[in-house]
Symmetry: C2
Subunit: 450 residues, 2 copies
């Protein structure tokens, strides 16, 4: 059995693919903006810099943009991976002076205005750090090997295959504890990802899996949601958190454990801080994120959660030509003493403002400060149910769910992807089915201790 | 760098997943039909046995049926993998007495009417071998490690990622030979798969890749098609073969090498039997198939290409209750002295007839012999072009292409998949685009010698 940590393998790949090569970005008279990361922040920035007198170089370790808010639907067999990803070259294919490089940035050298990458060193005039966050295991390396994160496309596919393979195995075991451990799922983290994946698994359990596995009794399949604080959806109102709790517990019989932490996991048995033990081969880790820190910046600009301290123009503290935007940036203000929430709208707005500010810099004009326009937030809990807070108005149930669908469709990259996602949603809605339940990975992260 | 042979890993997985388990197929009073393989033959058989007084057990090492004729479109970024695969449990979800088992059959024991599998031993009353073929490397193990087959879904995804990653790398190399080796593609085998993949790569080269990679000169990208015999599409008429040759060479400038074999390949340099050498990191192997032989049958029933000799009722020679259908079966007749062509229509017709014959056996009635109703064959070569031979009528060009589209849509499993494939085709046709060019595999088969 091969033991692979997908993200590690991915990096190894890039290095071996690139080998001894040269960067081959042409030197022009235009100032060069190097952007690290093609997430929401990076792509909004580049879109607004299209056809401006700048050379743009984008680095990403994937050749596509991932629409992260819908990753959980890939993991729960509702959507194809391709429909929530946008190839970066395609996205920017008609922009002159745009160069995409498929590679990993390994260090920043502010003293000489260069970066080191898996394909060599590159000079920049302006550097934009927009490489977001990764799953935070709080330093627990054992846990990192045993649980399933949900931040990248291949992780969602791994989880999908793992869930389905465990059900295939559950059919074959006689031991009731073993069967339980293969069917039960523990989700750690009661934020939007945890709540949405719990709802999606609840739907699978109610409507899809019993038809596929008539030999299994799905009353046995318990879904547990573990949250450290005293409520779900901490970033939203108390009322929305309570409604989400109600939807999850009443409709899907999800066991929500508030004020509870996971204290140990051996790949089979979860131990909670309240002493309870749960047998589960599938722990989904949605408990927090940490910045994808690149070495080379001074320690004093790094703050809690490995975020980078920036001023109101998204300039990294102490630098004129290095910027950080999106989830990795921490802009402390009176309204946001801990920085902005790590959400797509913040990233997009910072990307767009920075594009304007870079153009202002070129024209030697004064920069404009960032103000977050909070359009609200939302989370869906199975079919017909969601909670949403938009411009201070709280909505719940069917109407919130429709708003959620509409907003997510709106932000998926590309008309074709919108169409495919819409079609899948309509299909899944009316058939109570999930289309894509394939075990298609040639390997699984093997998490079994026995 | 991890070195993984995907199919090997896949098997290792199954064994580790299954571990110490029991088969848990209930013993009933109904005769048990065990079917090995959920390809065209197996699923047609099971569909017709639904709701009949038989217990059906299907084994497959994937949990989905693959629509192999369109694998090449997944490899060339035209279709999502999910749209050409049908989850087997979903396909047969309303059939009582049907049991799917995700596992590998390792041996047949005709003397005691059982099979050994990765999840234990199982008794059968009737055994149907329908596990098809795999890529034939003609015993060349070195080649098997270096070339790309195109028989399974994960192989198509590997090839897609490999092609795109090589272009990313081609951007970075200065050495012209090295760049050439990263861009050129060699396809071995001038049958339908070879011809269709050559056409699809031609389309990519003409319409898609130059927009994605403005820094590369795609006049450098050579596509070579190597065929041992003196013509393409040997299973079709001389005229169709010539037309395919004309389409490939005139429109896409594919270098077709007839009467030529690949004699050596080191991962970078291809040596042809005519002495010519071609630098290419991508050799697609469509040169032939060989039966997926399972041990336990006597040697005298195994014939050329590891096919199993059957009588006119698809009974394996010398056995009353063991049958072989589809590509792995070899039924010698006057009309087909080497057995039938290894095509989906033969498999489907044999599956359906065997269903009838099994019911006749139960009723102690005489079996009906198999006659192949040849509906014709076809191959597409890029947009608007195809060759088809239907009921003796030869058509070419746009009309043949439309027939090809229609027939393939018709046979894809499931209404939803038909819809998604149709939508993708319409989209690709009018936009001259390919939607799914993601490098999504967390690893590549590393084939570089330098």
């Amino acid at each position: 059995m091969q033991m692979l940590e997908p993200s590690l393998v991915h990096h190894a790949d890039l290095q071996s693919i690139h080998g001894q090569t040269t960067m081959s970005i042409p030197e022009t008279h235009l100032p060069r903006v190097v952007v690290i990361g093609g997430g929401f922040a990076g792509i909004e920035l580049i879109k607004k810099l299209a056809n401006k007198p700048l050379q743009i170089v984008l680095f990403d370790r994937h050749n596509y943009h991932t629409f992260q808010p819908l990753l959980y639907q890939v993991a729960t067999a509702g959507l194809e991976p391709d429909s929530i990803a946008g190839p970066l070259r395609k996205l920017f294919k008609n922009i002159p002076n745009f160069h995409f490089r498929y590679g990993l940035v390994t260090a920043i050298h502010p003293e000489r205005n260069t970066i080191s990458t898996s394909i060599g060193e590159l000079r920049y005039d302006y550097l934009v750090i927009a490489n977001g966050t990764k799953t935070n295991y709080f330093g627990n390396q054992k846990l990192a090997q045993l649980v399933f994160p949900l931040k990248q496309l291949h992780q969602a596919l791994d989880l999908r295959s793992h869930l389905l393979q465990n059900l295939e195995r559950a059919l074959l075991v006689k031991d009731i504890d073993e069967q339980q451990s293969l069917m039960d799922v523990v989700i750690v983290g009661g934020g939007p990802t945890g709540v949405e994946v719990a709802g999606a698994l609840g739907e699978l359990k109610l409507h899809v899996l019993p038809k596929d596995y008539p030999e299994l009794d799905f009353r046995q399949m318990d879904i547990h949601l573990i949250e450290n604080s005293n409520r779900l959806l901490a970033a939203m109102s108390e009322q929305s958190g309570q409604k989400a709790y109600q939807y999850l517990t009443e409709r899907f019989k999800v066991n929500v454990w508030l004020n509870t932490r996971l204290v140990d996991y051996d790949g089979r048995e979860v131990t909670l801080s309240n002493g309870r033990k749960i047998l589960s081969r599938t722990v989904i880790w949605a408990a927090g994120v940490i910045g994808n820190l690149i070495e080379g910046l001074p320690n004093e600009v790094i703050t809690r959660g490995n975020r980078i301290l920036v001023n109101e123009f998204n300039q990294v503290k102490g630098f004129d030509n290095i910027f950080a935007i999106g989830d990795i940036a921490c802009m402390i203000s009176e309204a946001y003493p801990n920085g902005h929430p790590q959400l797509a709208p913040v990233a997009m707005q910072q990307g767009r403002l920075l594009a304007d500010n870079l153009l202002r810099l070129l024209r030697k004009k004064a920069l404009k400060p960032f103000y977050y326009f909070d359009k609200g937030s939302m989370a869906t809990i199975g079919r017909n149910r969601a909670v949403a807070e938009i411009a201070g108005i709280r909505i719940q149930g069917l109407f919130a769910w429709m708003v959620w669908l509409f907003v997510h469709l709106l932000y998926i990259i590309g008309f074709r992807n919108k169409l495919v996602v819409l079609m899948n949603w309509v299909w899944n809605y009316f058939t109570y089915d999930r289309a894509t339940r394939l075990i298609v990975r040639p390997f699984v992260k093997e998490k079994m201790t026995t």
